[in-house]
Point group: D4
């Protein structure tokens, strides 16, 4: 059975950003669940979720959080699954606090960090991870890439025409 | 019985910095324990320690950690005791990663953050917290402050003489 | 008699942020006063307040200020009470100026710094400090934490349902 | 047959850092190759490698580079495999240039970024990715995590004893 | 025949900024083309364009991109023409990510970087480069500089009058 | 005769900020002129102004500029008068570019830098400089300081009353 | 009688930097005193010094301090004399903490900030301030500037010769 | 006759960095002069050099400077030649002050900025600019690029062998 992806956010106020991950997972047909789990307010839920994620059938965990964004690290502490971190933009230098809190993990416990507010990329990365052993999904990614390139090519043609 | 202070560090490589806290606690005669607990490598120990810290007789927890420094936040998640964070200096902008990971805590779970490598100040802050209801300790802090002022005054006199 | 908390701001324009501290102190039933004292414009008031804060019955001082935010440090210079600093957000890298001016205190005079605009957390930290020797207040904090966790759990349940 | 991991660096001067990835991959028994490919000096080699990485049996690509660190992004442009970026420390704010050049990828082409100089974590992340469908490797990761925890616990015991 | 300038942007959403380059090139009567080429989404187009730019009659390439802004570097990898980089403003510290990703190029492959959103200056720089061997264009630049100075002088006179 | 203050800005778009200096100079009754002089677009005007500023009766020069804010340094290069720099806020980290371009002057040629957008403070500093040998102006500054303190005290009283 | 300059530092460990100011003041024949006064450890000394600085015959105050560098601001709060701030280099982004703590002063109380570790420039600025009404000192500054230019010209000639 | 390149530095202490430009210009057989000209200490020399650079036979100006690095901008103000800026590394965030002071030029006066300490790249960029109308030089650049690629390929082969 296909592994699921967990989309976890530290606060439901992060949903507008994390929706980008949800949309991409749907697009790729990857089963997923969406959760609100706070590293600081519901640490027991974080532990409980991460500890049982493998046996619950998850293959990848996406964690979106802002400021002192510990969510990715806390989940990674309790699982051997790859954890993808999405730093949420803040008013502190555009989210540098979220980014450094996620990416600067100590040796032994990585969090695979994507761009600030990069929820769509987190989902694509999750798909790439699952596609390592799923050639149908890998094919979908190839198609996605090709369509993306075609989209840029169309805009390129349009702009070339406009400035001729 | 006097409340104890816990001096917790994420790695024993932080001891050279955190020794500054130990020294000041000794100076003030405050009972303390020193622990190595990693938010990411030994999360169960972090939870276990913080959850039982009140009943174990602790009054304040000092947490020193570097990079994505989650230790303070993870401990604070499991206790109502005041948690003081000491961001450890790193090569990333002198420890801005440690500082932001500690101080930018979300609403509901504060970490009382001191300067990068400010372990001595963490111990002084712990003493100030315990002294709110301990007039003997408050008196020690007044004496400490007076001696510090006298030390500066002596250096001031010495420098004035040197440049006369 | 219960110790009071002082909520001091460098300018009344900081009130919209510092109201977050006032609200939380009310919620916990902690007596407090609100003051406008400027480290630079009314230094005598700062000295006068901090010097007599212990005998006036204060247990904790919260200081909110922005830019070259010296208020916390100036108050801490004149008292042995714990001083909590709230860096106010500015246009300079989102308040990095306020944060560094507060947190990077020299050895001997700590300021317990919370997140940029973290006024609510400053009040929670003040409550945690007072609760070290006040088991009724400690119980209120445990209830507060439990309710916060329940709030997150409700949102979690709601989001899980929404995406099923 | 087991998927291989590619450890690619932009310059052989990065080897001292990237050796950390090599060591961990050996430790986990994961087959790997080491390459020097420059996004800017040998772009054709980058394209050639990334375009054929799937059919060459690679499962994950690790890319270490410094300054305007485009290597990860350039490789990711030509493959659907997960690409892990290791920002190499520089004199520019401790490697903030490398970090931002790697992590701030545009929508569509993620690079899974780990900490500055976090080569060991890149290898662990690669192992976690391969372990999603390799229970023997997943077991190795669980053992690795347990041993790491035991190591911290030993240091904790030692430090507790030292300060008793 | 006069060399052309290429104005290339990573996304058509950058057009509002890059229009500044187009306008200045028109003003100087320099022939140009406008393209949308993405370093990551259409890497083959980037290679194809840069590899043939000399024989296609281009003298300078202007590349505008944001975030992990690799476009300039990727084009520079495939050509010996001077490549001018325009870092596009982002929410990450006002575009520091774009700036560092462009300017911090490794030895061997320079990108001539102008200010964040400095598209007009990119075009002026392109004109300066072409004018090294084109005295008519050099004369246009001298006139442009003189008119700029006159414009400032007029505003100076107006402000002096206003405050007299 | 009283020395004049020059308020110079690099662009008339800086007037909304620099008006703060004009207003304060008027308040103190200090004679002044307002100029638009660009370090880069009208360098000859900058040289001409600064070279003759002493004989034209100026005592202090205030220079407001943004981004690569060279105006203060260029003026200081041509005069021995004190030059006060006002870094204008930009989108690059809130004006860190303007600030560093002004304050980080090499040994030999200082620019007295005030806060980002601190035009009023530039005028107060100019007044302080002129007041070193002008006791009437010094008295005005004392009155200004006292009124500022009274203003804060009134707000303090008002806020104390509001929260009683 | 000639006005004196006060060279004040927050700690005698700052002397190696502040010696640069002492040397320049000697070079210009300006009378000065050197003091160690801490804004936080000896706030009463700071107040006492600044309050009486005018009547003690001082014309300018130079304040050197590091980290949360409040010394300049605290002195400025108690005097109408111009206060020059020298941010001392630290491990936090090379002294950005010291710089922002000094320069970002609130409206009403300026501190004339020079470069990080720019003690010599602080003395030159003090000389420029005193020279506004002291033509002999102004002449010394002109000579100093001319000699500096000659020094650069000599090095220029030497380098031109070397590379011919 | 071949256009010359000027290698100008703000201080002879920058020579160790700027030597990298000299070496590359020699390698390409481009005639050059080396000068020490300070934007602030010898502004007249800067003006004189830049104003006459075209008629003196220069095609490109390379300017290396640190801190408030105005040299590039000051030269660009007086010429229509392309000016390449080399920000010299400093202790302020690794040279961010130099970088921003150079790259953030206002509209109308670009400085083509390369990496911090990127003197070799400045020379390569100068060669690329001169090669726009010099096919022999363009051929040298193609050979240089090819050799660079071969150098990387050799290291790649060596490293592949080492880890086989």
């Amino acid at each position: 059975m296909a592994k699921k992806v967990a989309v976890i956010m530290g606060s439901d106020s992060d949903l507008s950003v994390m929706q980008g991950a949800v949309d991409k997972l749907k697009e790729f047909g990857i089963p997923f669940v969406v959760r609100v789990i706070s590293a600081h307010r519901t640490p027991a839920a974080a532990e409980q979720f991460a500890s049982s994620a493998v046996e619950e059938g998850f293959g990848v965990i996406i964690a979106g959080a802002g400021k002192a964004a510990h969510l990715g690290g806390v989940l990674a502490a309790y699982t051997t699954l790859p954890v993808i971190g999405v730093p949420i933009q803040t008013s502190m230098m555009g989210g540098l606090d979220s980014l450094l809190s996620m990416v600067q993990m100590p040796s032994g416990i990585p969090v695979a960090t994507v761009a600030v507010n990069g929820a769509a990329n987190a989902a694509i990365l999750a798909a790439q991870i699952l596609a390592v052993n799923d050639s149908a999904l890998a094919e979908k990614l190839r198609v996605f890439k090709a369509e993306m390139a075609e989209g840029v090519a169309r805009k390129d043609a349009s702009l070339q025409a406009q400035f001729q």
